[in-house]
Symmetry: C2
DNA sequence: GCTCAAATAAAAATCGTTTCTATTTAATCA
DNA sequence: TGATTAAATAGAAACGATTTTTATTTGAGC
């Protein structure tokens, strides 16, 4: 429901603007990740005046607030996708069709343990992303690389 | 030994040029990761004529050949470091001093299993990076963020 | 409705990275 | 050791995704 999103934004002390809601809505409706420019193109169908910097700014703020998530892509450009799962988890990304699925498995416990024991260090954050081919793209026998 | 590096480069069908060896040498001597520009500054002390594109090109090629490795930094700029460990592993990166240490732990088995069982997909690659504070920076009670 | 900080538009700038072209050099082999 | 050739390089230029800037608009609280 949209009121959920609005409520969540208020919790983050972010104003509930039509453009913010639209960006989230666009990402929600998409099964895969999108670039800022791709989101902008979709936004232009909904708003007569909409600047690319607005898209960038909102994407960053929403990602900071964990409403949306960033994809780590080999081309190092920004990509985002919506994920309603609010408990800590990681993602399986299809390199062919851009679909993103949740991975429940997380190794943080073992990692912290190894860093503490062997290195006497402290873990602050970790990045885990699994790339591959989703069920559908496997069927289609996709050969290419990242999109 | 340097002859090891030269031999390795030959295996990769890469010419053993003085600049290539110097880039590797610079990274070897550094305990933490470096940006292309930082490497370039060090190169300029060793070579009268050395272009930044040469540094970029070599860093990419060496990373493709797994002579050096890339760091995934939140600012999305390129960073590289040397790591002689040739068996599959991951890295613990100190966000304060940039030190990089090997992590032996790897979850690839469990990840593949979950992706196959729950998603009927296939894992092609995975990215695991652990960020935190190394032993020394913990002692110094470092408060800041990524460098 | 009024106030004000937050959000936005539009244009411009930034700057890390890549491309292009001519020149040089490492590797191969006679 | 010299000739050959593909790979590597210098330097300048381009590129383009992202960010900054400034004036204007708008959502939220009263």
């Amino acid at each position: 429901m949209d009121s959920d999103v609005a409520e969540y934004l208020r919790q983050l002390r972010m104003k509930v603007t039509p453009k913010r809601l639209a960006i989230i809505d666009i990402l929600k409706k998409e099964s895969g990740y999108l670039s800022p420019e791709e989101i902008w193109r979709r936004m232009k169908k909904r708003f007569a005046r909409i600047g690319l910097p607005t898209v960038y700014r909102n994407l960053e703020e929403l990602a900071n607030g964990k409403v949306i998530y960033r994809i780590t892509h080999p081309n190092r450009q920004l990509y985002y996708f919506y994920c309603g799962n609010s408990v800590h988890h990681h993602h399986f990304v299809c390199v062919a069709c851009r679909a993103v699925n949740d991975i429940e498995y997380c190794a943080i416990g073992d990692l912290q343990e190894e860093v503490r024991r062997k290195l006497s260090g402290r873990v602050v954050s970790h990045l885990l992303q699994v790339n591959g081919l989703c069920r559908n793209c496997l069927k289609k026998n996709y050969k290419g690389t990242w999109r």
